[in-house]
Every structure is written in C-alpha cells, then in structure tokens.
C-alpha cells in the first residue's frame, strides 16, 4: 500500500514518530497547523514505544507502565488530525526545508515552513573482538523483537555492557520467561565516585526507585558479574563463546547469543546532512546539535527534539517535542499559541524530566577500551575495516574521518557511518593527539538512506530539469 503525502506544502513536517515526534506532531496539529508526520517504522512509537499499537505482549506489567504511556501519546496524535505516514524513509532534507521521502518504492517531495527533526537515538557502537559474528546483537535489537513480536532469547544468553536499558531489557526478558545465563557489567568502578556529586538530583528523580527495583528483580534470578574490563566474542561463523576479564581474572563461557549495550547516542545523519552544526559532547561522548532553548538549530526553520537533541530519555523527549512544536506555532500562528501550555510551564517540565541525567551520564560513561578498539577488531562493519587499518592510514597521512574514506572506505557502506562514526573519530583523535572536536565527523550528504537509481530516475522532472543536463 502506497500512501503519498496529501499536499506538497505543510506548515510543519515532523520526522520520526517516537516520543518527541508524537508529541510535536500532536501539538502542532491541535493548534491548527497543517502537519505531516513521517516515520520509517511499521507503526508509531519509535524505539521506546515500539509496536505500541500492535504488540502481542498484552500482559501490561511485563513491558511496564512507562511503556504504555506511549498509547496515550498515539491517541493524542490520532485525535489531533495530523497526517501520519508510516514506512516513509526520509532521504533528503536541505536548508530550503525541501524534504524527499521514499514511500513504497516511490519518492515524493514536500516543503515545510518548519521542520521538527525527531530522529532519536541509536545504540553506541560496541566494537569488541567478534562483534560482527552472527549471534551478537544489541540489547536494543532484542528489545525490539520482544516488543514487536513477543520474541525472547531461549539459547545460552549473555548480556554485556551498562546503562538503564540493559537492566530494563533483562527484566522484560525474564518476565516473558526468556533465558539469561549471565550479565557482564562493564561500568567502570571509578565512575561511581565521579557520579557521587550528582547523586542528590538522581536520588530525588523517579529513575532512582524504578532503577533500583529493576536491578533487584534481575539480580535475584541471574548471575551478575561486575567490574568487567575486557570482553570478546568468538566462534567460527557463529557465536560460540564469550570471554571476559573481571577483577583481573579471565573467564570464557559458552554462548549462543550475546547482547551488547553501552548507552545511546543521537542519530545525527539527517540533521548533519541538512548542514546543522553539531559539537562534540565531552560528557555524553557523542555529537550533539547546537540548539537554542526551543530546540532551534543553526539552520533557520529546523528544530530538533528528543534524543537527537542530546540524550535525555523518553520523558524529556516528549517535553522537547512540545517545546519545539509550540515554538513553531508561535512563529506561524501566534494567536493559536495562547491555547497551548505556556513555554515557562514546558521548560519547568523539561527541567524535571532531565533531573538526574548528569548522574546517569557520569556513572554510565563507557570505558575507553570499549569505545576505542585496537588490532584486528572491526571498526567499520560495512567495509570490514579494522582498528589497525585505521591506525595504519593515520600513520601514512590520513588526518580525519573524511580523508580516511579515500584510504579505507570507512563510513561509505550502506550504514553511512552510523555504526563506525564515533569509533573512527575517537580512534583518530587518540592516534593524532587531538580532541574529537578537532578531528570532526564524516561529511554527510543526501541520500541519507540508500534508494535505487530507478527510484531517482522515476522522479517527475520539468523541461528545465532536463535542459539542465542534456547537451546538444
């Protein structure tokens, strides 16, 4: 089924139907602005509320109350009158706010007066030896399958890494009767001390009690090894074992499935390709867009809301979505803005939702050895480029990620750097004694998702378009 956008021009186009996008589109449409929400998944929800309208996991306590909040957001969206297109792959956004989107194998073009990017986050690369083996996946991947298809691990399963999502996933797998053999916690011991000064804000945030009870629930059923300082997956064409070092002692355990997670980072591809300025965030160890208090980026008319604006979690994402949408309403239909919650109220909601974040960021700051690999460990999964390959290229003159493309094709495969970009930046920065900000990132350009030449060729063209390229 192909559903093209109903119009060519919209007041507001929101990209991404996760917490921020759902809230932004509903707010904008409720205020009377013509609003289009484009999302690449089968249904709305993004990652946090994935499959919220279709999950086969009907026992509500298994996914938890925080998940079902998403159903209310979808209901508000439906009631708002916003136009929503699922399975819509946005492959271009430029400074003129022209958007190209692939729907059912055909491209459509729309123009917006304001764009709200809500493209969210992806899991930070976890480049350990063997991370490309079949049987090694991200924790988020397992959670996606659990929510959308009710699938749980049933072989020998190891979960490794750190951060809130890891414990939530473990609890959900256990509640659905899945199997977890061991959890390998890679949180650095020193982080506990570093995070201590920020503990008060966290202790008084809702995350504290929830997180603690979830960890208790999991630890009662699964062996948890903390202080893991080395991690490797091995097997011949398929994961067979996981080896790790904890407290100076190495251990190897047989495994069919290894789920990795060390936090999430903004998904920057579309924003960067639109020319939006990003800066290296030294605490979150990722690129974050430069935004004002309403989420407006360095490109006029484009705002960013949700985790794509810097990791803040689902509650913060919802509020950021409302703030960005309110700012759009203020600009395009000031009279309608009076009906929306006041900006001051929204900003205080945001401060509340972001409470405790610095503590989490500091505690779960991933260790250098899990971010910056060495030797034969693959950095770029698509082009199969190792850490040694990158360092060899630096030794003969590659200065940054964009030069490295010419040497090794890193970031030029289908994932367009999503799974190697941060690793390449940090690895090259370390090798060259520079900061990640100085080293920079891949120069991203449309199309940010692969589309076929046939689809491009089928795009409607004017006489002038043809004249511009035909000779004689």
């Amino acid at each position: 089924m192909t559903v093209a956008p109903k119009r060519e021009d919209y007041d507001v186009v929101v990209i991404g139907a996760g917490p921020a996008g759902l809230a932004a589109a509903a707010t904008s449409a409720e205020a009377g602005l013509s609003t289009l929400l484009l999302d690449e998944n089968i249904g709305p929800g993004g990652q946090v509320f994935r499959a919220i309208s279709s999950t086969p996991v009907t026992e509500r306590n298994q996914l938890g109350a925080d998940y079902w909040v998403g159903a209310d957001l979808v209901q508000s969206l439906r009631a708002s009158g916003a136009e929503v297109i699922q399975r819509a792959i946005v492959w271009s956004l430029d400074r003129n706010l022209d958007i190209a989107v692939s729907i059912g194998g055909a491209s459509a073009f729309v123009k917006a007066k304001r764009v709200i990017l809500a493209t969210g986050a992806l899991e930070r690369p976890f480049p350990i030896p063997g991370w490309t083996l079949p049987g090694v996946m991200t924790a988020g991947a397992a959670q996606t399958m659990l929510k959308s298809s009710g699938l749980v691990p049933d072989g020998r399963t190891v979960i490794a890494g750190q951060g809130p999502l890891l414990w939530l996933l473990a609890a959900q797998i256990l509640r659905l009767g899945g199997r977890i053999d061991r959890i390998l916690d890679t949180t650095q011991r020193g982080n506990y001390f570093a995070a201590l000064p920020h503990a008060f804000a966290f202790l008084t945030s809702p995350y504290f009690a929830k997180g603690l009870s979830m960890m208790r629930e999991v630890k009662a059923k699964v062996q948890v090894v903390s202080g893991v300082t080395e991690l490797a997956a091995s097997g011949d064409g398929q994961l067979a074992s996981v080896s790790y070092v904890a407290g100076g002692k190495r251990e190897t355990i047989p495994a069919d499935l290894l789920l990795l997670h060390q936090g999430v980072v903004p998904n920057v591809n579309l924003a960067m390709s639109a020319g939006i300025e990003h800066r290296w965030d030294d605490l979150q160890l990722c690129w974050s867009p430069v935004l004002d208090a309403s989420g407006n980026s360095s490109v006029a008319g484009i705002a960013i809301a949700g985790d794509g604006a810097g990791i803040g979690g689902a509650n913060a994402a919802v509020v950021r979505g409302r703030i960005a949408a309110r700012a759009a309403v203020e600009a395009l239909a000031p009279a309608a803005a009076a009906k929306l919650p006041a900006m001051a109220t929204l900003r205080s909601d945001l401060a509340k939702a972001e409470r405790g974040r610095v503590f989490l960021d500091t505690l779960f700051r991933p260790a250098p050895q899990f971010r910056i690999p060495s030797g034969d460990t693959i950095v770029c999964r698509c082009e199969e480029v190792t850490a040694k390959d990158v360092l060899d290229s630096v030794a003969i003159g590659a200065t940054g990620p964009n030069q490295l493309k010419a040497y090794r094709r890193t970031g030029m495969g289908p994932c367009q750097g999503r799974l190697c970009g941060l690793t390449v930046t940090e690895l090259m920065a370390q090798a060259r004694g520079k900061t990640p900000q100085e080293i920079g990132y891949y120069r991203l350009r449309a199309p940010v998702k692969p589309i076929t030449l046939a689809e491009l060729a089928a795009v409607p063209k004017s006489e002038a378009d043809i004249k511009a390229v035909v000779r004689g």
Binding site: V57, T58, T132
Partner: protein, 98 residues
C-alpha cells in the same frame, strides 16, 4: 536463538525463505520472522563473504540486508511480512537486476 511468547495470538503468515515455506506471524518484520524461524538466515558480506545476521533491528546497521520479492538490499528489519512473500538470503553483493 529466540522463541515466541505463548501470549502471542497473532495470526500466522506463510512466507518462503529460499523456496522453503516458513511460518511467520502478522506484524513480524522479515528479520524477526527469520530469526524466530530457526532457519539459517546468515547472509554473507559483499567485502569478505563473512557471515552476518541482523545486529540492530532498528534500521541503522544494514546487516539485515535481504532480497525480498526479487528486490535486493532491502532492510529486512523495516519490512513487514506478507502472505506468500519470497525471501532470498543474500550472499555477497546485490546482484544486477535484483
């Protein structure tokens, strides 16, 4: 590697993986259906031929690339299954004409 929860009451959908009938469920993505089926769904990479399975399941890693109804290099994790859908496990590069 994975099994289905008993509370999953979604109707079955039949797909074909390299010509063999496989039972999926309505609402599964192609990648989820392959991982749940127990069939060897490992593709091989275009560069070295190394075996791979889906890694992220959310559209960013492209390790789920698969041929669906004759079209190569589709992201299996973003495409829902449909009755009679024909899946081919992609070995190496996408073929010209697919």
């Amino acid at each position: 590697m994975f099994r289905r929860s008993e509370q999953d009451k979604r109707p079955e959908v039949q797909i074909f993986v390299d010509g063999v009938a496989v039972a999926a469920r309505q609402g599964d993505t192609v990648s989820a259906a392959l991982l749940a089926s127990g069939v060897d769904a490992r593709r091989s990479t275009a560069v070295s031929g190394a075996p791979r399975l889906p890694y992220c399941m959310m559209g960013v890693c492209f390790d789920c690339l698969v041929t669906i109804d004759g079209v190569g290099n589709r992201q299996g994790c973003l495409v829902p299954v449909a009755e009679g859908m024909r899946i081919e496990i992609q070995k190496g590069k996408r073929e010209i004409g697919k």
